[in-house]
């Protein structure tokens, strides 16, 4: 017993002394992080990582050659601790995921029979690959081979599919892909991705101002993956419900099916899945990146502001919205009548955005209730100005300020906010845009006897949506074309009693290809109306600039249309930390334009907050189309009628503000989704069994 004790005492002391002394004597400086990292490795010196012991592994990690997750037996906490020591920032806590952008698979035709090394890399260097499509998937599965985690497999259609649960975001597939179509991106990168020239994009997706991946969500709808479809839309558009109702869908104009048949009813399908989510009773979870600790003020709670706030929040910034009106929504709340976009729907949608953790302050007007100074003082790192375009242009004719004369947006907004307004019996609305139609359709619902729409050119030139025009026609609106108002006639009380206009005729086409209206001398005609609403166009209200006492405000430059001057690609204004978007930047435009602008601004703000140069995305395809993707003919299409949008019968709708357009029934939606050709740049799935291209 005693011997044992003494023996062990001796040998322990000896070893202790030798080790402690030698640790002093043989002290060598090394990066202190190596020791720290080593402390957080499993320390079994098992060699399982392929390195000679834990300290060698630690050295490799510190030198950056290996990932913090190198140690095969380390716990999750251990890996996190190592990551922390290595100072890997919050961004990497956001797991990157692989994402295959080309779903074309075997659809693109071959230019030749290939014989040789069976890898994408090898084939890609032989005349650019055998596929006719220059940007698409070669399909020999280099990415599948490259993935060490079995997260990529070759799908039945000949293009790789990523299993999200298995993907660790190592980037091996991306490196292996010679066509750059498999991308490993974090959520932030995915949200902030803008269409680029080399992307495999369908014409619709190129056209959509919000850059929604349209074929993908239609395909998901087709497969019954409604939730996934909503998520796909939400990657680009925070307001699918609103857009699904009011978007004039420029995408459908480019739809390849429309070349030979009627275009796919893209917007209806968007509305279908968006309504599906709303009616399902629960909200789909929206993921956000970890907090970055930066604060952004969004001025204006309209589509641009909401979009910008939504995307900033999702990439981890803290966002507060300031809104002058009592409620958020901007033009889509106050400018779009209830029968097109019920307030209930809008409220539900906006609530979803606010639920991400965005604070909204309403009833506060920029320049009056708060200003640049107060924002800076409150610690906001950047400001987004999405103040919209609320100031109507005047007609510039005599009698415009008579009683019974209104400005379009102003009138709609006052009506929407429930203001009592005196109504006449007959009304004339001047203008051919959607606002004008909104005005007339609202007026007719208010029980007016006769409502005219007065437009300078013909029906063909009307900028309003076709469906809207048709609906207005159905509802009994009288259209007065080729008429230029010259004067509002008033009675002695200063009340408007008529609108005098000059008849026009079409002359030579102008630069834009539209035939210019030319006045017909002496053709003055008078419409007997007691209400005149001019809804010709709007501009932003620049009054904030004078009202804000902050001197820096003087540096904010405006254009001659009173929009905020900004770089169209980055939306950065003349003051570096102020960004803009939506109507405030572009003048009156579409809701989707504002949504796209909001996202674009969010990207710039993110860059700005990270201290990086605010530069446009490389090879951006902003509002341009890839030439080769626009076809003049599309073969192999069997014509199928486009789904007809169900709507309330005219009898039912005229005396109420109930929503007119109804959602497609499920079967109809599927049928419509089936019409989609699932295009990419040059390939598409036609109705026939034979995939063809170009």
């Amino acid at each position: 017993m005693l011997e044992a004790l003494l023996f062990m005492l001796g040998i322990g002391a000896l070893c202790g002394i030798v080790l402690s002394l030698s640790s002093k004597v043989f002290y060598v400086y090394e990066d202190p992080r190596i020791a720290q990292v080593e402390n957080n490795l499993a320390g079994a010196n098992c060699g399982g990582c392929g390195f000679a012991g834990c300290s060698a592994a630690a050295e490799a990690i510190v030198s950056g050659k290996e990932a913090p997750s190198l140690c095969i037996i380390n716990s999750k906490e251990g890996v996190e601790a190592v990551s922390r020591i290595m100072g890997v920032d919050a961004g990497s806590a956001e797991p990157p995921m692989s994402y295959n952008m080309c779903e074309g698979g075997n659809r693109a035709a071959d230019k030749y029979h290939y014989m040789g090394v069976s890898s994408c890399k090898a084939m890609a260097v032989v005349f650019g690959g055998k596929r006719v499509c220059g940007v698409g998937c070669i399909g020999l599965g280099d990415c599948v081979k490259a993935c060490k985690f079995d997260a990529v497999y070759m799908g039945p259609d000949g293009h790789p599919v990523v299993i999200d649960e298995k993907c660790v975001g190592c980037g091996a597939c991306q490196k292996s892909c010679p066509k750059d179509i498999i991308e490993v991106k974090t959520l932030t990168e995915k949200l902030m991705k803008f269409n680029q020239k080399h992307d495999p994009l369908a014409p619709c997706a190129q056209t959509c101002p919000a850059e929604i991946n349209i074929p993908r969500y239609i395909n998901q709808l087709k497969n019954g993956q409604y939730k996934e479809a909503v998520q796909t839309i939400r990657m680009r558009n925070p307001l699918p419900l609103a857009c699904g109702r009011v978007c004039p869908h420029p995408c459908e104009n480019e739809c390849r099916r429309g070349v030979e048949d009627e275009p796919v009813s893209i917007n209806q399908l968007k509305r279908f899945v968006a309504d599906y989510e709303m009616n399902s009773g629960s909200r789909l979870p929206i993921t956000c990146a970890p907090d970055t600790g930066k604060k952004v003020a969004v001025i204006g709670g309209g589509p641009a502001g909401l979009s910008c706030a939504f995307f900033l929040r999702r990439i981890g910034h803290q966002v507060d919205i300031f809104e002058a009106m009592p409620k958020l929504g901007g033009i889509i709340r106050y400018g779009i009548p209830e029968y097109r976009l019920p307030k209930k729907v809008l409220d539900w949608e906006i609530q979803g955005i606010l639920d991400l953790g965005i604070k909204a302050f309403t009833h506060v007007r920029f320049g009056e209730d708060f200003g640049l100074g107060s924002l800076m003082a409150s610690g906001y790192n950047a400001v987004f100005m999405g103040i919209g375009a609320w100031k109507d242009y005047a007609l510039g004719i005599e009698g415009e300020d008579l009683d019974g004369c209104y400005k379009g947006i102003d009138w709609l907004q006052r009506f929407s906010s429930g203001q009592e307004m005196k109504l006449g019996k007959t009304a004339a609305v001047v203008g051919g845009g959607n606002s004008a139609i909104d005005c007339v359709r609202t007026l007719i619902r208010l029980g007016l006897e006769k409502v005219y729409i007065v437009y300078r050119r013909t029906r063909n030139e009307m900028p309003a949506n076709e469906v809207e025009i048709v609906a207005a026609e159905e509802e009994g609106i009288e259209f007065v074309f080729l008429a230029a108002p010259t004067r509002v006639i008033g009675d002695d009380d200063g009340k408007a009693i008529g609108l005098e206009y000059l008849k026009m005729e079409l002359g030579e086409p102008d630069a834009s290809g539209r035939r210019r209206p030319v006045p017909v001398e002496g053709s003055e005609t008078v419409l007997d109306v007691d209400m005149v609403i001019s809804a010709i166009s709007q501009a932003p209200d620049p009054s904030f600039k004078d009202k804000d006492p902050h001197t820096r405000m003087d540096d904010l430059e405006l254009t001659r249309w009173n929009t905020i001057d900004s770089d169209p690609a980055t939306l950065q204004s003349s003051i570096p930390y102020i960004f803009t978007g939506g109507d405030a930047a572009t003048g009156p435009a579409l809701v989707v334009d504002a949504i796209g602008g909001g996202r674009r601004a969010a990207r710039s703000i993110d860059l700005f907050l990270k201290g990086e140069a605010v530069v446009p995305p490389k090879d951006s395809l902003q509002n341009k189309r890839i030439h080769e993707s626009i076809f003049t003919s599309v073969e192999g299409i069997r014509q199928i009628k486009r789904a007809k949008m169900p709507e309330l019968h005219v009898d039912q709708r005229l005396d109420s503000m109930v929503e007119v357009d109804l959602v497609l029934p499920e079967a109809e939606a599927h049928r419509e989704a089936d019409r989609c050709l699932n295009c990419c740049r040059i390939c598409y799935d036609p109705d026939t069994d034979f995939p063809i291209a170009k």
Binding site: C46, G47, F51
Partner: protein, 190 residues
């Protein structure tokens, strides 16, 4: 001749890796590349000989002297661990060149059962000091030989189209089995 037989026995017949199953973790871990295998082999030779000397001395003069043989495990491993750590620190400071080549493998050896196993075998076979020294050395050579041969084969296997489930360790073990099989060729030669 006695040492020749010892050598054949320790290197081929009773190969510490393939017949005694000792030191398999680093065997699989460091055999993916030839360079690592060579480095590891050298380090094992060095440490095993040192450990053989130290443990034999401790056993003969202290453990047996004091009649506390049952403390063999504790004292041996403590001696080996301390020795390895000491050598590592020494090399790092004094001979950085050698450290870069061999030293980085030293930590792997602390928990290399081959070293501990060889020391215990020396004692259980009641070798003399010189025998223990030689046996340690030859065991280490056997370890190194198996490791290097294995690394050679494994470098090729890593490039072959091994089914996914079998890749890496799995096929490594099967290959090790094949090597163990071939090493039975030396059976009966001494």
């Amino acid at each position: 001749m006695e040492y020749f037989e010892l050598a054949i026995g320790c290197i081929f017949i009773n190969n510490i890796l393939l017949a005694q199953f000792l030191g398999n973790c680093p065997f699989l871990g460091t055999s993916k590349k030839m360079e690592t295998a060579v480095g590891m082999s050298m380090a094992v030779v060095f440490v095993m000989v040192m450990a053989g000397i130290f443990t034999w001395t401790v056993d003969t003069y202290l453990l047996k002297g004091l009649g506390v043989e049952y403390l063999r495990t504790v004292s041996f491993i403590l001696v080996i661990a301390s020795l390895v750590q000491f050598v590592e620190m020494f090399l790092k400071k004094s001979i950085p060149g050698l450290y870069a080549g061999l030293g980085i493998f030293l930590p792997l050896i602390t928990t290399n059962c081959a070293v501990m196993g060889a020391c215990l075998l020396n004692i259980s076979k009641e070798y003399s000091f010189m025998q223990a020294l030689a046996a340690s050395f030859f065991y280490a050579i056997g370890f190194g030989l198996a490791l290097i041969l294995f690394a050679g084969v494994r470098e090729r296997i890593n490039l072959a189209r091994v089914p996914k489930a079998l890749q890496d360790t799995s096929i490594g073990l099967v290959t090790a089995g094949m090597i163990a099989l071939t090493f039975t060729a030396f059976k009966g030669m001494v």
